[in-house]
Each structure stands twice: as structure tokens, then as C-alpha cells.
């Protein structure tokens, strides 16, 4: 088994803003090992959101290569890219991004419906992961009936339910108060430690980075060791 879960080399990305070309990522090299909990720290405007989208296969780099769980990413096939996102990546967002009309259980099941999985199996797995994040009591609640921390737990269950190669968390505690944020970080650490889930947490908060196994900095589109 390839010990590298994620391997990107010399990824560059620039945007055209009016007449000027804005270079956001200037040759990023990064590897994440299986079972690692990595923090990517950077101030706003450093290119960390773009990097996150790049890692999450939501954005196509101008140049460079990307391999995830041993699979080299081919960008020009949307179908293959969607499948790869569905199977290999679990997203956790700052704003949770739960669907307001769905219950916690249904929200967690969304990635699995795109696999054509049977409803009973989806339900079984959703319950399993909601239990893992201590949300078994809120299975039939809708997002507006839950606190921010609870919503983020549901979102984490959704990220995990498809057994992805890697969980990408973008400022996962950014919308939470300190105490709840710590609880979420504890949850991440526990999932990483006990289940060996590979995680990348992107944040501007150096405090979070200390709780991760390894940290790198992104400044002005370049990666530096933390």
C-alpha cells in the first residue's frame, strides 16, 4: 500500500483580475501520509482556500500533478472527477453546509445516494456515523433545530460516512465558540487516533495547528514547514 495518501507536486494556479494576472499558488509541493493529521496554516489571502479547493478536486490547477490514494487525478473528465470526490474526499466546511430541509440522517446520507446505494444500507451507515460523532439523539432533527456544534458534528459524520481517503476541513471551528471549537478539535483528534482517518485541517488559527500531528504554513502561495 502506498504510504502517501496525497501527493501534489508543483501545482500552480493564477487568476486574471482585470488586466493583471494574480498568481495564487506558486508551485506547491505537499505530501500527506496515511493516517496523518495535518494542519495548513495561513493568513487570509495566502491562497489557502484555493489550495483547499485544489485538494478537494473542485478546482483545476494550471500546471502540476495531483495523486490521491495512489490515483493520479485527470481533470478533463467531470464524471470521473465527481466520482473521485464522492469516493475519496470528505468535506467539512466552516459554515457546515447542511441542507436545511433534510434531517440529520438524510444530510449524512447525501454522499451515499450518489453511489446508488440501497436506502436501508444508507440508513444503517448514517446511524453508525452519527453515533460516532455523538449525534445519535438528533437523528431526525433538522439543521435549524440544532446548535452550531451539533450541526458541525453532523457535517463531520457526512464527511466520514463514505469512508473517504481523506477528510478536508476548512476552518472547521471558525463559526463556533471556543469551547465548542475545542470539542470539535477533540473529535477530530479522536477520529484520527482511533480510526486512523487521514485529515487535513486548513485554518488561520495557529492554536489549532498545535493540536495536529504536523503543520505547514502557506504564505503568499508557497508552502513552508510549520
Amino acid at each position: 500500500m502506498n504510504p502517501l495518501m496525497l501527493e501534489i507536486s508543483d501545482i500552480r494556479k493564477s487568476y486574471r483580475v482585470g488586466p493583471t494576472e494574480l498568481k495564487v499558488l506558486k508551485g506547491i509541493n505537499l505530501t500527506v501520509e496515511r493516517g496523518e493529521l495535518l494542519a495548513i496554516i495561513g493568513p487570509s489571502g495566502s491562497g489557502k482556500s484555493t489550495l483547499m479547493h485544489m485538494l478537494g478536486l473542485l478546482e483545476k490547477p494550471d500546471t502540476g500533478s495531483y495523486a490521491i490514494d495512489g490515483t493520479r487525478v485527470v481533470y478533463d473528465n467531470d464524471r470521473a472527477l465527481s466520482t473521485l470526490r464522492n469516493r475519496k474526499i470528505g468535506f467539512v466546511f466552516q459554515q457546515y453546509h447542511l441542507l436545511p430541509k433534510l434531517t440529520a440522517l438524510e444530510n449524512v446520507g447525501v454522499p451515499l445516494t450518489y453511489r446508488g446505494m440501497k436506502e436501508a444500507e444508507i440508513k444503517r451507515r448514517c446511524l453508525e456515523y452519527l453515533t460516532k460523532v455523538d449525534m445519535q439523539e438528533r437523528v431526525n432533527h433538522r439543521p435549524n433545530e440544532m446548535s452550531g456544534g451539533q450541526q458541525q458534528r453532523v457535517a463531520i459524520a457526512r464527511a466520514l460516512v463514505g469512508s473517504p481517503a481523506i477528510v478536508l476541513a476548512d476552518e472547521p471551528t471558525g463559526a463556533l465558540d471556543t469551547k465548542t471549537g475545542e470539542e470539535i478539535m477533540d473529535l477530530f483528534q479522536r477520529l484520527n487516533r482511533e480510526d486512523g482517518i487521514t485529515m487535513v485541517i486548513i485554518t488561520h488559527n495557529p492554536g489549532l495547528a498545535e493540536q495536529c500531528g504536523r503543520a505547514v504554513k502557506i504564505i503568499d502561495g508557497m508552502i513552508y514547514p510549520g
Binding site: 464524471r79 470526490r85 468535506f91 447525501v110
Partner: protein
Amino acid sequence: MSLFQVNFREAFRSLWGARQRSLLALIGIVIGIGSVIGMVSIGTIVQQQALRQFKDMGIDIITIRKGMGEGRKTEFSLDLLERLPAADRNVLTIAPYVNSGTEYTQGRQKIFIEQMGVTASFFDLNKLHVQEGRAISELDQNRYFCVIGTELAAFLKGARSGPLLGSRISADDRVYTIVGVLDKTAEGGLRPYGINRAMIVPVTTALRAFSNAEIRTAMARVSPNIPFVQIKAEIQDYFRKKGGGMQAEVVSAEELIESMKKQMQMFSLLLGAIGSISLIVGGIGVMNVMLISVAERRSEIGLRRALGAQQGDIQSQFLIESVILCLTGGGIGIVFGIGTSYLFAYFSKWQFIMSYWSVALGVGVSTIVGVFCGFYPARTASRLDPIKALRS
């Protein structure tokens, strides 16, 4: 399959969530489908009705009417009409009749009765059946006997005791003895109007007794194998020669049905035009609602894409929503259309027929409108850049 079910469920939720907007968008579809269904359904009813009249009266029946032409004030004489079969062998039987009307009062109740003066052949030509008593015969000439329709009979029974047959009825100061009661008879076709409310007397009596009595019409049975145009020409020729330049209008059952069909075509055209315009307007309404729905759910679309939805998954999600919207409108429209045609049949006193074909048409058309108008919004949704969609 599972994804389809999920999409289906979520489409309902989403439409229900914006039910006010959805309902407004439906109005056009409802009117459109309603008109189309009404059109097809009424068409079927009219066609069946025409066929029934054919079967009921026979296609060999014609009506001869005194022409409205200028010239001397001439009248159809009984004699002139009754000699027609002898002169034209394609005219088999003739039944000249007089009709008039009067108000009949009994106690405080009033009924308007059609008064008809007929010959014996009138009953056979009109397929009238006597329920009780007998019909008018040639032997009744000049006598004050009458045969009455069912509605009139029911009216009279409601107010008097004893048997109707043999009892008297007075109209315009004349007293008639009731000798027969007719079965209930369907209206329409070439039959004189209001048979069920009629008091039918011998034609000779009528010419003496009815106010304003004049023979303007006759019904006739003609040879079924001779073209109608030929018979028509022969009859008109007969009246021109024998009646001193008298003009006669000749109408066949076929012609009547033709004119009915023409009327129906106008009606269909009108409903068809309303239907098509409404469907276009309704379709635009649906497209608009779908575009709003896509715009409102950009972030949801972005999220779903991030979680692995294919472009096709997003597209089908919105297409299903659009089709459900249109099918709901179509369903309501079908009910409206069938209802309209039911009322049409009811007020025309025609038999209502449920046209299953029109229901299938309604479902089909609304599905097509749904797919057609949902396609652009759904495609827009599926082509959204996931990142931009997520950020919104």
C-alpha cells in the same frame, strides 16, 4: 433507483417549500391543459352525439322548409307537400307539420307547450313511441284529439286525479281529448324542438285551431342510395314548378351533422388557441420558477457537487422537479377540462363521455412541457462552477 427516489422526494419538498410560487406558476399550465383536455373531450362528446343522431333517426331523413326567398307570399299547402312522394319517387314518405306554442295554466302553475299539427307518418319518421294510448291517425282529421309528450303528461298528472287518457285539455279556447302519451324522446337532430312538452294534434285540426297556423316545414324519408344533392335538386325543382316559383330549403341529417362539426371546429380552434397560448405562458412561468429555484439553491448545488454529484444528477434533480410541477398543473387541468366538458354536455343535454385518450394526452403534454421548460434551468444548474456556487 435510490437516487431517483431521493430526487423525487426532494423535488416535492422543494416545491412544497415554495408552494405559493409553485401554485402561481401552475395557473398557466392548468388553463392550458384544461383547454386542451376540454377541447378533445368536447370533440368526442359531439362526435358521439352526431353518431347517435344518425343511429337514432336514420340517415335517410331530411327536412324541407319553406324558403325565405322574396316574391309572392306563398304557402306550403298540405296538398302540395303530400303529393311530393307521387311526383318524386326518391321521396318515400312525407310528414308535413305545423308548429306553434302556447302557455298552459293549471291552477297556479304554468308550462309552455309546443303545439304541433302532424300527419300519421310524423310518428314513424321521428321514431316516436307511444307509451300509453295511440298515435294520431289519418282517421283523426279535423278532430280535437291530441297525443302529449312525457313532460306535459307529468305536469298534468301532478294536478289532476284519474287517468290522463280520455281526459280533456284546453288550449287557446279549444278543448282536446288526450288519446295517447309519448315515451321520453331525445332532443336534437332533425326532430322538432320540445317534443317532450308537446301537444300533438292532427294537422288539419291545427290549421284551423292554432293561431298563426301555417305549414312551414315537412320531414321526409328519402331513398338512401341516391346522392342527397340529386334529391335536393329534385325537390327544389318540384316546388319551383308546382308551387309557382316557390323556394324550398332542404336539409339532411348529414348536413346538420356537418354544421355541428363546423361549430365544434370553431370551438376547438378557440380552445386550442387558448390552450396553446396558456401552455406557452405556463411553460415560461414554470421555467421562471425553476430558474429562481436554481438561483436560490446555488449553494446547495455547490455542496452536492462537492459531495460527488455528477452534472447529470443535478440536472435530473431539477428536471424531476419541473416535471412534477407540470404534472401537478396538468392533473388539475385534466380535472378542469373534464369538468368543463361535463358541463357542456349537461347544458347541451348530451350524453357525457369520459375521454381517456384526452387524459393520456394531458399527462403527456404536461410531461413534455415540464421536460422542455425544465431543461434550460436544469442544465444551468448542472453547469454551475461548484466553488462559485458553494460561496454564494
